[in-house]
Subunit: 342 residues, 4 copies
């Protein structure tokens, strides 16, 4: 038996989602004729408290469409040195938007202080590319699925806005943050200018992410999406299950509870250090096992547990709705066995 804890991107669609795909009312979305896409875009905006939404094939596209739409060439992007948009999107901010990146160290809290934001912002001058966009990430993937509170987001966003710099929120797992903080996603998004969130991760949809913001912004983003090749035709076939995913988010609490159990269970194994997770992501430091991350991942894979090497000695385990309580206990046992047998 294999327990797949690599990512919540691996979630498979429910039967209800499959039915929804089959019965979706569709049209050509490039002509805005797909009722299922239109409804999904309307609801996504509504739930996030924004004016309009846009369906995109991936989180990377949602982020990069937002980044290009907010900025002009010759500007800087201010973001965490471990931001997903910089770390795992193939240099797209430079490739697709010609932005220079100015990095901050967001630290363990995964959010900079207003002071840090202010210091990172560059005023445009004859010699200096001005800052065009500030990016936050919630939950913050690389920093361990950390959920950032509304107060922290608002303070950082206000610092950027004070200098006329718009704020994009990479909210690939924003609903995990909302669940963890016991608040609404709309609250967390209130003071940022745009939000990308993924339907296909913890929410369980097969394909797609949403970008939301002001109507005028989304109108321009639609054109950027077309430029990047993200304009799809009878996309209702995936939008309909996406809408189901968006409306049914009750299961996220269980994902978090299981992540907590994984952190606890792995933390009891010699050589593995874990912290209590905020959400569905557990980052374990395996330095004490004498293995680096790659080797550790290889070892436990042999015992049927799939995880992802994150840093030199850090390994990420992610729960999702296809992972049961039994899977969790089995995975902990298998990792313990794997380490014991070395």
């Amino acid at each position: 038996m294999v327990v797949d804890l690599r990512s919540d991107t691996v979630t498979k669609p429910s039967e209800a989602m499959r039915e929804a795909a089959k019965n979706a009312d569709v049209g050509d979305d490039v002509y805005r004729d797909d009722p299922s896409v239109n409804e999904l875009e309307r609801r996504a905006a509504e739930i996030l408290g924004k004016e309009a939404g846009l369906f995109v094939p991936s989180g990377t596209m949602g982020n990069q469409v937002a980044i290009r739409t907010h900025t002009d060439r010759g500007q800087e992007l201010l973001a965490d040195e471990h931001a997903h948009v910089l770390k795992w999107e193939l240099g797209a901010v430079a490739q697709l938007s010609s932005l220079q990146t100015r990095l901050l160290d967001f630290g363990e809290s995964a959010v900079p202080t207003p002071e840090q934001v202010r210091e990172g912002i560059v005023e445009e001058s004859l010699h200096e590319a001005g800052t065009g966009l500030f990016c936050l990430e919630n939950t913050h993937n690389y920093r361990g699925g950390v959920a950032i509170s509304k107060a922290e987001i608002d303070a950082a966003a206000e610092a950027a806005h004070d200098h006329g710099v718009p704020v994009h929120l990479d909210g690939a797992r924003l609903f995990n943050a909302a669940e963890s903080l016991d608040t609404d996603a709309a609250e967390l998004a209130e003071n940022v200018d745009s939000v990308m969130f993924c339907l296909s991760k913890g929410l369980g949809a097969p394909v797609g992410s949403m970008l939301v913001g002001e109507q005028e912004f989304i109108d321009r983003a639609r054109r950027t999406r077309k430029l990047f090749g993200g304009g799809m035709r009878q996309a209702g076939m995936i939008a309909a299950p996406g809408l189901l995913a968006l409306e049914n988010r009750g299961h996220l609490a269980a994902d978090h509870r299981r992540a907590e159990r994984i952190a606890e269970g792995l933390g009891e194994i010699d050589g593995i250090e874990t912290a209590e997770p905020d959400t569905n992501i557990v980052v374990a430091d395996v330095a004490g096992t004498g293995l680096n991350a790659e080797a550790f991942v290889g070892e436990i894979e042999q015992h049927g547990v799939l995880a992802v090497a994150f840093g030199e000695t850090t390994v990420r385990f992610t729960t999702n709705w296809d992972v049961t309580d039994g899977d969790v206990e089995g995975a902990i046992d298998s990792v313990r066995t794997a380490m014991a047998e070395r």
Copy 2:
């Protein structure tokens, strides 16, 4: 009643496709774990006679991924002045691949002579950006759905290859060309280096296009797709109906027959000139009606016929599997009435 002849992109999925979506075997395609996508990619390559395939969310992405993967920055792209990749893809060749475009006039045949190709190719020098890619389009959309023969493609491609320039074929409607020429798509693709074709147009699939080429090329294209945000997760939900579309292409002949009837019927109307179409696209010159294309399209829309303004006085009518023989006769009658009532 409305007859929608705007495009073959509006085709809605069949019941069989909807069932296929519902029952699709899926996985996370970014990890290469989606069996339906893997099978679709394998079959697409096989049918086109190439080593490997890549599923992409749109034809624009397929073309632009190919263009970037074939080239280095600082090169030129050689293509028809009316190529889709230049005309309706938002300047993506410059935006996403930093290529300078050198245009040829492919003329009515929609394919340049080897001599034209040779003259259009620029050798790299201290002062000159060398040609990095030559693009063909079959069928050629703007030039009226013209089908280009294997002999013509091969001659043009050979001229490019003689100068070490690779050839990409925008085959959005390549199976329409094959049907019209009574040949295999693989024959038409034999001497080009990569082909993009659309599942979502005449073939009737809800979403997606395919890029095929050599294994090494597709491996690199997969990374470019990721850069553009085209990496999807449980994409089998759309790949499965796409595979059905790919396997069942018998209906294209009827689309062509209906286009022929539209050309004939419209051509009998005063002020409208049409040529016999090669495939499912009819381009009518409406100059003789005293209306420009925009106004003409507006008039016939009032009579329930949807078409697309193409040039100053040219209008495109496109058949697809949702258009019946009755629709065709009705549309001709409606256009006649619309013109008579002016």
Copy 3:
């Protein structure tokens, strides 16, 4: 003895220019503290009838700074298929400004009709990159140093302006055009938005070109120049001789007379066809000699005449102030001898 007719870029500075360099009042031009540069920029603008000027190290930089300053990414540049900015500037319009190029065939007159301009302009839409700039070239290098009249420029520029498209004039040899047309350069420049002209070609300066336009445009262009690395320090050392070159243009008439003599003399040689030149550039078709351009250039180089292969069978000869009447007669004799001895 060698007669160098490769280009007017080879002009060596006069003694007066060398003295001017030696005695130049200089400062740090990045701080705007160089009096010689400031005066050159002021005079260049005045002579061209524009508000402000900018000194740049090369004609390529002047053109490309103008192109980027006029446009936004995601737009099209409309220009002749044989424009210098596209042909010999290494794809810079795509590399440095991310512009897609739409080419016109300006034909023998080297200037498009208003109708051609209108047809080449693309309105921005969801699918189409709008036209951001229209470029003219006067004299037109590749088309044989053709001088375009004020009436022709104005008509083409008006067509662009009617669609809100600005016009840049590549006037590398604009003073040659003015001389040929017996008019002021300011007249020719009246209805374009920016002009680049070279000090270092026929005018004889050692280094540099000028960009002129409205104050607001030049202010932004200064920043683009800095981006491209064109901000120099005590640039008065080259600006001072440049100013001399600009003020003393009387010698251009003799360059044109000598070009006329070259055309006449070469045209009498068997196998060489020439047309009467407008300015200082003679393009000879050597097809009748049985040699291609490269081979022809190699042959005459052996007889002490330097020229440039332009097209397949066309060779360019350019007069400049270092070429005397004696040089001209000697060159004609040498070419005749070279052909006779084959």
Copy 4:
């Protein structure tokens, strides 16, 4: 009387340089026909211990030509967060080379440890842009003209080379570093792949910088220079004084002595903190005066001392050969008076 301590870019050419300009042997450098440029390029390479050299109009161009020539699009540049190439070159690394920037904090030593370099390097993967270039800066401008030793450079460069990453050295003031460290510039450059150094700063030349490296690299860099518009014609007029500047570097020691005196003198003023400078740059922290940098610079300008606001409360004073011992004492007195009179 005004003492200009803004920058060493303001150095005016000596009489000998002016004579050299006047008498320069020149030709068209785009054709490689300028003997003065050729000799300057040869000598620059020789002095730095590299195979070949390239004359460029500015330090920004030299750096950006090197950066683009070393890299492919879709890569990362690893550099100090306060590197000149990122801070004051208008985002050129993203604009001109489409590179994503990964920043390190080089700290007070102005050079990262091998460990930091290793951690900053990203291996290319399906998700990650690989590191394409590592940049060092010596002396390091923003960090106070710090001179980095050969041992430190070599260790950092070796760490990069171990991962196959080339190293570019922004040596705008490399000869200041060599003077300070009592070594040869060639020693400092031995283990980096390319070096840019400025003729127009402390060395006193009117215009220009040099890029040196392997022959093959410089050949490609020449083409990049052309792309950026840096190809000049009779550039010997500025190359000849540049060569004089390069050969006569004995005066740098006095610049450093004067900077030391400025640091000492200013440091005795209440509210001003200075550290002993390595070279000709003094960075003073003026926080204790109750003024921010901009206000401080404004105050002392009123007393005839020109300096540059660097950070929030840091001000840069730079000596150069136009600054005498008397100027230094006068400037210290003036700053003291300015602070006393507040």
